[in-house]
């Protein structure tokens, strides 16, 4: 067997086993997207209700000011929560987020605000520690399946940093929003000081005048942190679904590429084999002719 033929056979074998792995990853990701989407859906009612409650309180208690809703006149430091994934194999997912986070950091610096990154997801954490950038906080291990407790832990750290003396004055969140199976968008949102995000459906009537139990201030005290937790939780869930969608797409194109390579290599291999056979035949024929000629010459 010729050297080239052996080489091609080896390459085909290795590409085939790679294709098997990427194909399996693709299938796993597809089934996980569905679960991630279900978790996203399950969290929707809570987020909707809490947004409504916060809107209700904020809209009819303009007199009550709360540390979490008041914007500082001259913000000096900002916290940026960057939501990345724990594992790779998901195409440009993390690169996109980190690029957007860098852009935001540049924008903030231009305004004279010093950004501090708070990072979730192993990929983002390694990215920052490799560059020796100091992080305000880091969380790993739940990017594929975030629990509410994880969101709570993040929110606690952020709120603490926000309320302490000389802490951060703004909190931004950079995460990936799951638009559809095919589209995921990196979005940047400011979560503190609070801007209450309206739900997609417009409020039907002016919101009713609430009574508070026990007082408006006390309700706000416990409502706002929950609202921030809920916002972070939603971002984590969206990011989890987007991560799987990005992984599925990356693995699908890897499998397609591998199949294309296998096709090309198989063709080359067949050509090489055919060339070898043709050469052997012509050698045999040539040899036989030479023998026949020699025999004819003797006579």
């Amino acid at each position: 067997m010729g050297a080239q033929l052996r080489l091609l056979r080896r390459r085909i074998k290795s590409v085939k086993s790679t294709a098997k792995i990427t194909r399996a990853q693709e299938l796993i990701a597809s089934s996980r997207i569905v679960k991630a989407q279900q978790r996203m859906q399950a969290a929707v009612p809570y987020e909707r209700e809490i947004t409504r409650a916060v809107t209700g309180v904020v809209s009819n208690t303009s007199t009550v000011s709360h540390p979490l809703t008041v914007a500082k006149e001259q913000p000096r430091r900002a916290g940026v929560l960057i939501v990345t994934s724990d594992s790779g194999f998901c195409g440009g997912f993390n690169a996109n987020i980190l690029r957007e986070a860098e852009a935001l950091a540049g924008l903030l610096r231009g305004k004279g605000i010093e950004p501090t990154p708070f990072v979730t997801g192993r990929k983002g954490v390694t990215w920052h520690s490799f560059r020796h950038r100091e992080m305000g906080g880091q969380w790993t291990g739940f990017s594929r399946r975030p629990a509410y407790a994880d969101a709570k832990a993040i929110a606690d750290t952020l709120i603490e940093a926000f309320t302490e003396e000389n802490g951060i004055d703004e909190i931004h969140i950079v995460s990936t929003e799951f638009v559809s199976m095919l589209t995921q968008e990196v979005v940047v949102k400011r979560i503190l000081p609070l801007v209450v995000e309206e739900t997609t459906e417009a409020p039907p009537t002016p919101l009713p005048y609430f009574e508070f139990e026990p007082t408006a201030g006390a309700v706000l005290d416990s409502l706002l942190p929950r609202y921030i937790e809920s916002r972070i939780f939603t971002a984590l869930l969206q990011s989890a679904a987007s991560e799987e969608a990005a992984r599925r797409r990356a693995m699908k194109s890897a499998t397609d590429n591998a199949n294309e390579l296998i096709r090309v290599f198989t063709m080359q291999m067949n050509q090489a084999r055919q060339a070898e056979i043709t050469q052997e035949i012509s050698e045999i024929v040539g040899g036989a002719n030479a023998l026949a000629d020699a025999a004819a010459g003797k006579e």
């Binding site: 809570y46 409650a53 629990a147 139990e213």
Partner: protein
Amino acid sequence: MAKLQVGVVSPEREIWSGAADMVIAKTVDGEIGIMPNHAPVLGVLVEGGVLRVKRDSESDLVAAVHGGFISVADNEVSILAEAAELGSEVDVARAKDALERAQASIEANQDDADAQIEAKRNRARLRAAGEDV
């Protein structure tokens, strides 16, 4: 008579929703009963409270609700719980076990805040399941 539209939701899932005649919950100020056409209220619920939803045809729906809020507007009642569990879903044996453990650690250390919350939660779970605590 008008009915209340009730939704009990936790961050991870919607626990129950449906129509009801009366909702009784425990806020930090005390028990609050909501009947149809109640004025809009937003209240903070206590840790380890029991929520009771009265329905005319069926038996009461009872749930253990840990922290969160109750919001009432236009005959819509939303219970936003940090964690909640229907009485029928409570694993009584495990809740009893957890309660005993929490009480043991409270006896060992009076200031154990975590254990006290744990005890409160499990007491609420048992009450929601219809046990006497």
